[in-house]
């Protein structure tokens, strides 16, 4: 049956365009068939990433046997169809339609009488030149404008209709991109990409008739509407209406280079546009990547600002009479080498971040082992690989369940979050166990709430619900579960329900969904790693896995960890530093978190600190030697992503200033220390290195304890005095320990959150209204936030998203707890300030 279908699909059909026969594959639209045949039909509203819309009518054709002029983009091609794409009537109509579209759009740049002459000066490297009033000098679209192409191809040289300028104000209060809806032609691509592809749905057609606009609900800022700032709308806009702010006034790029984004472990394919050795902008690569032509805010808008930052370290620095001063590479390397050579091997340490290229990670390990000859380096860096699943999740669809446990993927692995949404679009069912509502909630078939530390309870509840669903379940089957015998389950069930605050119905429903599906993919996220009950959790997880494997076709468990997960060995290195067993440290990045400058500097007791980094960080001022490192857009190599796939990096620009790739720096250092630095230097040696060096641990056995910090979470209990549970989840993005909110302006506005969300009933009890300012008071301190009433929050819970550095958070939670991704505190709400100290 399936084979026959496939055979059918292969049958080639014939279609006649303008008297000539062409073949096409079934399922194509007339437009696609024409494109395949190399015949040009002008389009505006259609876009290859989006389903046909049929709104602009520019793609009209004549089809024999069909009345009128059907839109080719939304008419399915049929065998034997006779299509005429360029009759006089069609051409005339298209011109009329385009004129109509342009009557509301400034056209100076389209029909300027000097256009031809000026074209010569508009090559790469020149600013677009055109008149202002008519819009083109203000139009940021440069030579990439699709309207210009349409005007040329359709061949109009004037708009005979009265033109009307909308005089709408420029919208530029949001970060990252500006919106000038005076240039908008209402093609609806942005609306559709935001709704259908990204699932964010914050853009819409507003009003009707001549008043129609693109906008948000009540014209609120994108920031307030939950825009993800993914830039998808900017990328599909055919005009200059939506424009990326960083590249807006840059000349058209001189070159574009395909490489990989390394701001998280997803490994999206990106295209870096560069001019004069400066990254101008990054867009999703048009080749097949794990990210299918989408990016997150970091990859789309963060990279250019990050790598061009004024905080880049561009020359080697050394300490001379207490001051860091610029110096030459030779000088800096000699000083660093001499300094490091003065310590015993066991007194040295190397810290390096997780988002380096594979070659760099190898070089780091080689450097620690063969040059420093120390054990003080994170050789068991957290596994990057998931068990097997392809992170594009492209195979998932109807019949598949995805269970996210404490995995806020939209934050930790943005494009994976997006891929999950797309899997749901294809029919997969999503279940979520998490503490707070996340972006993916709206795509979930069931949500189970569990406080930090309670994920085991939630899983136990789910196991129980699944077992109970099945009529054949018996004592024997349950006996297989080593964690809990049946009676214990039964006894605990009530308690589980009360403990996690989820009702039985939700658990049962989740169990139904799991059992209806044929396979389950479990993704365990960052939030579970910080539990101190993880041993228990792991047992339950393998129970769950074997249970689901026996009930359905398959069950896979994967770990999506972030780069800030420390493993036991990392902690040992840190302890050695703290206990002053380590006297000299080489640190790549800014890896030791220090949330407030008032707190003691954890590295202050070191005798010798060498920082290798691309940006100035917390510890550069304390270093003896600072060596400038290249940013990832400036170097080549390979990058193993979270799912174990290997991606290529290609340098788009030269290293900024005198900076060098880490591999080279380590090799120079090794040589200066009298050791052979050859093996450290270059990617081509990478495979040989694997023989002698431990590779990063790639597989994660279930029985093994997940790498978790040895920090213990205080148990938080509500009481009469502190009746409410405040849960804060950090909204921070890190690269090599640097806070991106510091280095990229717009990220700060995404991370800053003034809101505490509470359930309508909590709000009613306390007589709090949306937007009220409230004071949260915990046993440790207090902080002022704005109340937001949110029906997705369970009664008794308060949810905030302050950053790790937010003084209010530090006051409420204390510094130990503030270092978790998700923190809890028992609090009460006061409506007015008293003596306010925040």
């Amino acid at each position: 049956m399936a084979e026959r279908k496939r055979a059918e699909r292969k049958v080639e059909h014939k279609i006649i365009f303008d008297g000539k026969a062409y073949s096409f594959e079934s399922g194509m639209t007339v437009l696609q068939a024409a494109e395949a045949a190399g015949i040009y039909i002008p389009t505006l509203c259609s876009h290859q990433a989006l389903p046909p819309f049929g709104a602009c009518r520019l793609c009209i054709v004549e089809i024999e046997g069909m009345r009128g002029f059907p839109a080719s983009c939304s008419t399915p091609a049929e065998d034997g169809m006779v299509v005429r794409t360029n009759t006089d009537e069609v051409m005339h109509l298209r011109r009329a339609v385009l004129e109509l579209i342009l009557s509301e759009h400034p056209t100076g740049c389209l029909f300027c009488e000097r256009k031809v002459g000026c074209e010569d000066f508009r090559g790469p490297g020149h600013l677009t030149k055109a008149g202002t009033v008519t819009g083109c000098m203000l139009c940021p679209n440069k030579e990439e404008c699709e309207l210009r192409i349409l005007v040329e191809k359709i061949g109009i040289s004037e708009v005979r209709l009265d033109s009307s300028f909308r005089s709408l104000p420029l919208e530029r209060l949001d970060p990252f991109f500006d919106r000038d809806y005076n240039l908008c032609v209402l093609c609806g691509r942005c609306v559709r990409v935001c709704q259908e592809i990204r699932g964010t749905s914050i853009l819409e057609f507003i009003n009707r008739g001549p008043e129609t606009r693109i906008g948000t609900s009540f014209h609120h800022l994108h920031l307030d509407m939950g825009c993800q700032f993914c830039g998808a709308c900017v990328d599909v806009c055919p005009t200059g209406a939506l424009a990326d702010r960083t590249s807006k006034w840059e000349p058209p790029p001189q070159k574009t280079v395909e490489t990989t984004c390394t701001l998280c472990t997803v490994g999206c394919s990106i295209e870096v546009a560069a001019s004069r050795d400066r990254v101008v902008r990054t867009t999703p690569s048009r080749t097949d990547g794990i990210n299918s032509e989408q990016l997150c805010v970091l990859g789309r808008f963060g990279i250019a600002e990050l790598v061009n930052s004024r905080d880049r370290v561009t020359t080697p620095l050394t300490r001379k009479v207490g001051q860091l001063v610029r110096t030459s590479w030779e000088d800096a390397i000699t000083l660093a080498a001499e300094g490091l050579s003065g310590f015993k091997s066991s007194e040295t340490a190397l810290l390096y971040p997780g988002l380096l290229t594979d070659e760099e990670a190898n070089a780091c390990r080689a450097f620690a082992r063969t040059v420093l000859r120390t054990e003080n380096y994170p050789y068991r860096f957290p596994p990057r690989k998931w068990n097997s699943v392809n992170a594009s999740l492209s195979g998932l669809g109807i019949g598949d369940c995805i269970l996210l446990v404490g995995a806020d993927l939209t934050q930790t692995h943005p494009i994976l979050g997006h891929n999950i949404k797309r899997a749901v679009d294809r029919g997969a069912k999503l279940l979520i166990i998490d503490t707070v509502p996340t972006f993916l909630d709206k795509f979930a078939a069931a949500k189970i709430r569990a406080l930090p530390g309670d994920f085991s309870w939630a899983l136990a509840g789910l196991i129980w619900a699944v077992v109970e669903k099945d009529a054949v379940a018996d004592e024997q089957e349950l006996a297989k579960f080593k964690e809990l015998p049946k009676w214990a389950f039964k006894l605990l069930f009530e308690e589980i329900i009360t403990h996690i605050g989820t009702d039985e119905r939700t658990l049962n429903r989740a169990a139904d969904i799991l059992l209806e599906g044929s396979s389950t993919l479990v993704i365990v996220g960052r939030e579970v790693g910080v539990e101190n009950t993880h041993t228990h959790f792991n047992g339950l997880l393998s129970d769950f896995k074997s249970l689901m494997s026996s009930k359905t076709k398959s069950c896979e468990v994967n770990f999506a960890r972030s780069t800030r997960d420390f493993d036991a060995h990392w902690l040992k290195v840190m302890q050695n530093i703290e206990s002053m067993r380590v006297r000299a440290l080489v640190m790549i990045g800014d890896l030791v978190p220090r949330l407030s400058p008032e707190w003691p500097n954890p590295l202050q007791d070191l005798d010798f600190l060498v920082v290798i980094d691309s940006h100035n960080g917390t510890y550069t001022p304390y270093a003896e030697v600072v060596l400038p490192a290249a940013a990832f857009t400036e170097k080549g190599g390979t990058f193993t992503a979270v799912d174990g796939t290997v991606h290529k990096l290609h340098p788009a620009v030269r290293p900024m200033g005198q900076s060098k790739p880490e591999c080279e720096i380590l090799a120079l250092l090794a040589k200066a220390m009298g050791r052979n630095g050859d093996g450290l230097e270059l990617p081509r040696r990478a495979d040989r290195d694997t023989d002698i060096l431990p590779r990063p641990e790639r597989d994660f056995a279930l029985s093994e304890q997940p790498s978790a910090p040895n920090l213990s979470r205080e148990e938080v209990k509500c009481s009469n005095e502190w009746p409410l549970m405040l849960v804060n989840r950090h909204n921070s993005y890190l690269l090599h320990g640097h806070r991106l909110s510091r280095l990229v302006g717009g990220i700060l506005s995404l991370c800053m959150s003034d809101f505490v969300r509470l359930s309508p009933s909590t709000a009613k009890n306390l007589d709090i209204r949306d937007g009220d300012e409230v004071y949260l008071v915990s046993g440790k301190g207090r902080g002022k936030l704005k109340a937001k009433v949110d029906c997705d929050i369970p009664t008794g819970l308060l949810v905030s998203r302050m950053t790790a550095k937010d003084p209010r958070l530090l006051a409420l939670m204390g510094k130990e707890q503030a270092s978790f991704w998700t923190n809890t505190a028992a609090v009460r709400i006061e409506k007015s300030g008293g003596d306010d100290n925040v």
Partner: protein, 151 residues
């Protein structure tokens, strides 16, 4: 727990009747009510707003306390309707179709109310007044406030 698994986009028809209900209750569509509706129906806030703005009968501001329609049909126009409009416009600093900031007073223009014999005509809160002058309209409006002052 809501189940809108991939089903976003359903129920646009229901949406319109829900919007009508809200308008009936409040006299306009308050933002809070629309947010609540968006959550309940699993349709994004912007989509709800987009649909609502498509229909001109939906209002997004609380209705004004009083509404003054000034007729500018041919007869009223000829007999000085424009003068009345100008004076009201100056006095309240509103254009036709707008409402004063304190939401007390809305100004609308209409084209012929079918009682041209009485031209120029104004309608205040549904009540027709004929043979008006700018001064008499001023008085009409002043009288509106009078009982309130008494309270």
């Amino acid at each position: 727990m809501t189940d809108n698994n991939g089903d976003y986009g359903t129920g646009r028809g229901r949406l319109i009747s829900a919007l009508a209900k809200i308008q009936k209750k409040h006299g306009y569509l308050p933002e809070d009510a629309l947010s609540e509706l968006s959550r309940k129906m699993g349709i994004s806030k912007s989509e709800v707003y987009g649909v609502a703005t498509f229909y001109s009968q939906f209002k997004f501001d609380p209705p004004a306390k009083h509404t003054l329609h000034i007729c500018l049909g041919t007869a009223c126009h000829v007999r000085g309707g424009m003068k009345i409009l100008e004076s009201v416009r100056k006095r309240f600093k509103v254009n036709p179709g707008e409402t004063t900031e304190d939401r007390k007073f809305a100004l609308e223009r209409v084209a012929c109310l079918g009682c041209c014999a009485l031209a120029p005509v104004v309608v205040l809160d549904g009540e027709i007044h004929g043979k008006m002058t700018p001064e008499s309209v001023d008085k009409l409006i002043d009288d509106l406030d009078a009982p309130e002052r008494g309270v």
